[in-house]
Symmetry: none
Subunit: 93 residues, 4 copies
DNA sequence: CAAGAATTATGAACCC
DNA sequence: GGGTTCATAATTCTTG
């Protein structure tokens, strides 16, 4: 460590420094590992969308559908109603 | 179009419709399952950041650190690609 | 809610509705106008890239060059920020 | 220039080099200028969305509306129909 | 037209 | 809790 000479360093300083460095290393490694897994899952999801496309489904619509399923039905209803209101306000059929 | 909506559909159409509907269900369910897992991982990552914060680390720095570790290989690659393509653009290979 | 849809609305409601509808129209029209201009600019940029290609330049290199000219200041800034925040994280200021 | 010694260089090489360099410079500058303008417009658009939000409009719905106005009505119809079909296939009301 | 990059939009997190 | 920045998702555009 840069600020400790061998004989002047207290046990405490050395220990604290090492502990912090080890802790940091552990944190970074765990996060990076989980991010790898996340990335793998994202890739799997992408593959399924490709499969869906090949099977003739409209991917854009599929995404919208899945987004809707995450929302409360009331929320979906509310948004659809609002779109409608705005459309009429602009004279869009 | 992936499936049929007419209720007067012939047996063939209906069958096709069912097959497509089953396929769609399968696709949606698999995607939703993977997204759940993704969400769980995101939550785990968040927990580690919280832990890091409690341990006295600066979360913003940590994030940037991890981002930079990710980018470094990409940047090296990018530079090499650029040099390569410059050569070609200048007719040096 | 921004405006009213009931056709039995009182004069007040109706007025509010009209005002809101006019406001909405104004907003939408202004946004669409600006988006048109944006699109025109994008088209102009595309033309210049075509011209560059015709003149024998490698468009991919060109794009990367321009990207890098944009990023450089941001990167410098980012580095400075990181150093700064590291200092704080390490209790050096 | 790296590959020309002063006395061996032909006038042609030098000229070609200058012309190319000037041309490149012109191209880069024009593109960067147009991109600046584009950026300014993007900022203006953002401001209008802010204004809309302050006026009580739902920005997300507003964006969707503007997206729809860019499409052909038939296309909009088609997508809405498709969503509906998928929803029913999944038993979503 | 399919793959991949780049832009844009949405959603989450943090600070005030 | 509101608003602003940051991170992720999604669409659009480009290129092979």
């Amino acid at each position: 460590m840069a600020f400790d000479t061998a004989d002047q360093a207290t046990a405490d300083h050395a220990t604290t420094g090492n502990i912090a460095a080890d802790r940091l290393k552990s944190i970074v490694e765990r996060i990076e590992r989980l991010e790898e897994e996340r990335k793998a899952l994202a890739s799997d999801i992408k593959d399924i969308y490709s499969e869906a496309k090949s099977a003739g489904f409209d991917v854009k619509v599929l995404r919208q559908l899945i987004r809707m399923r995450k929302q409360e039905p009331a929320e979906v209803e509310e948004q659809e109603m609002l779109i409608d209101v705005y459309r009429r306000a602009l004279g869009m059929a």
